[in-house]
Symmetry: C2
């Protein structure tokens, strides 16, 4: 049986961006398959009593994070600009990602949407921009958006976010291995992939 | 001029433990000198509005951290047990570390105290245990403790903690480079040392 990990990600999450851009290559190099699990971290933050992301609630931590993101993106050759406002509302993009099959299609859209947001400065609520992105990727945008806004797809995303709560996911990105280990953050991608290989 | 970094650490901080045990070797391998900067993170957390460590305030994050510490310590060959209670009161040990000169003496004591706490389960408030540790390291415990409890030393520690606030330090461990870059957490030791080499 092939080794596998789950990649839990939130489109508005800064550190999810370099993680999403890098995880497939890291995993493939070790023969590990990646399941892409988009969820809504804002729901979880509200459950934890936060009104916004901790990066806004604790400005000194936020200032650190922005500088850290600049350094990380430069290190890995990724474009970066600060989304305005931050965090972006990720509901629409997450519903689109959920509507796409997890056979590489969802991953390709997710990487492209991260790049549009963090490298190009497109807003996550820009539905026309997202439709154009879908077209660029060879999809029929109207058809994907119709599926994305269906009750079944909304329910599936709600259920996945509820599963994240039940798994104890409190931030993004989170990588979960087949044996239930969790690794939090872009910094732990390599450890997570190695754990999947070794166990 | 030799490359240098500052290692800001708190004895009660879990991730400061593997960082303290590993940083000298990592830095020395790249020709980087380490200044050891013990400070009191509890003061900073209270300034940020926390009543305790976020690992206690957010139980789901705490549960993750304990498992993560087990994995990290196993990976790096470090003993680990969970301090009880957590966090420990670090005032006495931090005053001792502050009283020792930063010429390798402070680093050696600090590593030993981390190991006693996290590998052996000694309480940070165990003043007899800390005196025995000082004796093991070749110090005159009574003399070091007298210096540690002097007003000058208390003031120096207070000033260092205030400096941490002014630098924007919001957690531990924090590594600061000569050009003012900061790297937060055990996960970023390698990046911090490499930054010092490259800049």
């Amino acid at each position: 049986m092939p080794k596998a990990i789950e990649f839990w990600y939130e489109f508005a999450s800064t550190y999810s961006y370099p993680a999403a851009m890098r995880i497939e290559e890291l995993a493939a190099a070790k023969g590990v398959q990646v399941a892409w699990k988009p969820f809504l971290l804002g729901v979880i933050f509200r459950n934890m009593g936060f009104e916004s992301t901790p990066f806004n609630e604790q400005p000194v931590k936020g200032a650190y994070m922005w500088r850290d993101m600049e350094r990380l993106c430069e290190k890995f050759g990724l474009g970066f600009q600060r989304p305005d406002p931050f965090p972006q509302s990720s509901m629409f993009g997450t519903r689109i990602a959920s509507a796409l099959p997890d056979d590489g299609t969802r991953a390709a859209f997710s990487r492209a949407l991260y790049a549009r947001q963090f490298a190009d400065g497109m807003g996550l609520s820009d539905q026309e921009g997202i439709a154009a992105l879908l077209a660029d990727l060879g999809h029929d945008p109207a058809k994907v958006i119709e599926t994305a806004l269906s009750q079944d797809n909304k329910d599936a995303l709600r259920a996945r976010t509820q599963q994240a709560v039940e798994l104890g996911i409190f931030g993004a990105p989170m990588i979960r291995t087949s044996d239930g280990e969790m690794f939090w953050g872009h910094d732990r991608l390599e450890d997570a992939v190695q754990w999947a290989v070794d166990h």
